[in-house]
Symmetry: C2
Subunit: 130 residues, 2 copies
Amino acid sequence: PGPHGERLAAAVQVHVERALRRPRLAHALLAEPVSPEIEAVRLDCRHRFHLLFSEILQDGIAAGEFIPFDTELAAACITGALDEAIIWPFAKVADDARDKPVLVDFMVGFCMAGLDRFRTAGAGGLRRPA
Amino acid sequence: PGPHGERLAAAVQVHVERALRRPRLAHALLAEPVSPEIEAVRLDCRHRFHLLFSEILQDGIAAGEFIPFDTELAAACITGALDEAIIWPFAKVADDARDKPVLVDFMVGFCMAGLDRFRTAGAGGLRRPA
């Protein structure tokens, strides 16, 4: 039930876990004011994540796991949600904090829930905790 | 069923609709590389949206509409999702495009779906299109 949904959830999870390993470094990389040149590199980086998420979703639609929807808009929602969480609340998390899995689960759950309504009947709802 | 969820959905909707009224202006305001001083103003602006969303969610928890959850993280997800959508796919939307309600519905639906699992039994699921 839902390999492409799982792929997306895994990609989101890896992205968030990597950021949470060094929260303050991630904050510096994403949010500290920098020169326009470096800002352009940042945008390009974000665009690559956007493309990755969008491509996984397009694969999911092609495979009949999701009904067709605006994958570019969905990918933007996911990329933006992750980046903002990394910039803002994550930056306050200590490097050795023990509650990181809770944060990771929250992020994965939030992003995947937004896609649930596009799942086809057979695909089932993944990552939808009670 | 769910006045605070409705408040949040309305706030999200207003934010997105305003951006969609002048998509390229919104893109310029949010995304064009600028000096660090202006970037700091941007961050402050985004922080205010963050606070607004977070406060509505805290009210919803206090009213028993939601079980307790990390409202700061949720507000970051919502703020980030909206901003990224405005920066990236929205910027390509013509000022007089006719399909804007579809985009607005998508954004509101995406953000609210991420909160569904925190709704108490009595609150019901709002904004969850078939």
